[in-house]
Symmetry: C2
Subunit: 248 residues, 2 copies
Amino acid sequence: MATLPKFLKTDYFLTAAECNAESELALSTLVRHIIESATEHANRLNVGYSRLAETGIAWVLSRLALEMKRMPRVNERFSLETRVTAIDRHSSDRLFEITDAEGKQLGMARTVWVALDIANRKLADLSMLTELAAIAAPYSPACAPPKRLRMQKQPDTVKDLSVCYSDLDINRHLTTTRYIDFMVSAFDMEWHDRNRISRMDVVFMRETLPGASISIATTALSDREVQLDISQNGEAHVLGLFTHEPRQ
Amino acid sequence: MATLPKFLKTDYFLTAAECNAESELALSTLVRHIIESATEHANRLNVGYSRLAETGIAWVLSRLALEMKRMPRVNERFSLETRVTAIDRHSSDRLFEITDAEGKQLGMARTVWVALDIANRKLADLSMLTELAAIAAPYSPACAPPKRLRMQKQPDTVKDLSVCYSDLDINRHLTTTRYIDFMVSAFDMEWHDRNRISRMDVVFMRETLPGASISIATTALSDREVQLDISQNGEAHVLGLFTHEPRQ
């Protein structure tokens, strides 16, 4: 058996068509790269979706944290490196490092994945994934773990959203990256021109099905932090926290 | 000077994260690949955005047609090949061929690009682009040219949409691919499960700015064709026509 690849590094080139209004990599696109990169690494380790599906379980992204010193800019090359930093019976942690073409760190991310038993929708046991346990190791420098969030009771603003066909993915529910799009869209272009998101924490709690009417509530926790709660009928689906700072 | 590359072929692998609810390449993602591929080929021919920007003009996608026998599916490799088929004083035509891993044709696309004088927003003269004229040549098999469309006066349904921050691109207006997302979202998942879009015609007429309130009107022209008009205050911005057929 070949040596298990302890990490996976993917190189990217940021085309104009993939940029946001500030000519930078959009947060949701970075999250898509993070998910794809974790998926590809898991496949190479033979602990991907297809292996898990054989025993009726599926990987689900549970929490995410992302800290960026700066975002890649248009026509810039950057890389994303992922490795498994921990695994226990019910969850697995991954660390991601985003670097520029010279290898200088632009930011880091951490994800917590759980395995769900598809039949009973309960947490599955991961102890059989010996390949993951064999390579999981702490890594330094670390990114602070994704925060656990609770829905805010007295939001500043609430906006209604509806889930459209183009928001759906292969799992036939609202795709992960659209939650991030909804969150960044709680602010207008002028806000994004003045501020940058230096850290984002996201907790994924319930899936959102086609045709659902959801709402996004924003609550300023301080002049640097705002919480973004996406819910349906009062039930939390996805909670986010943006830490922001004025652009230089 | 090196020989000008008459065509550009790009290879893709369709990851699960890029699929729609039918586990196929989403229409808007294919359009993004088409735009990126045209942009990259123009850059290699030295007739890209930066060369044109020197004289204060910019490429603008004016019309698009796309005909698909079938869409690439999850975990499938496919290719997109683009070439310039015509150029006159004010516009340039491109043809795209989408093929599977065995080189079998999955579909074709055609685009019409115009050059806009950024200062006076009028059509610019393309005669100085001798590099394009040197390689422009008809190519067979051809895809029927993008249809010219007019706004329908008595739509069946009208839905309001608002332009969010995440809908914007580097040009600080509603990004091309989101118009396609809005159009496919005029139908729900059950409709897409039963039908496939075999041809799409799109005409881009006016840009949509941040914060705009637009509407999308749908008009069934026959049991196989539906027109999708995106407008603001009664002014046409983007008009589309879907030809569809029951899935096998």
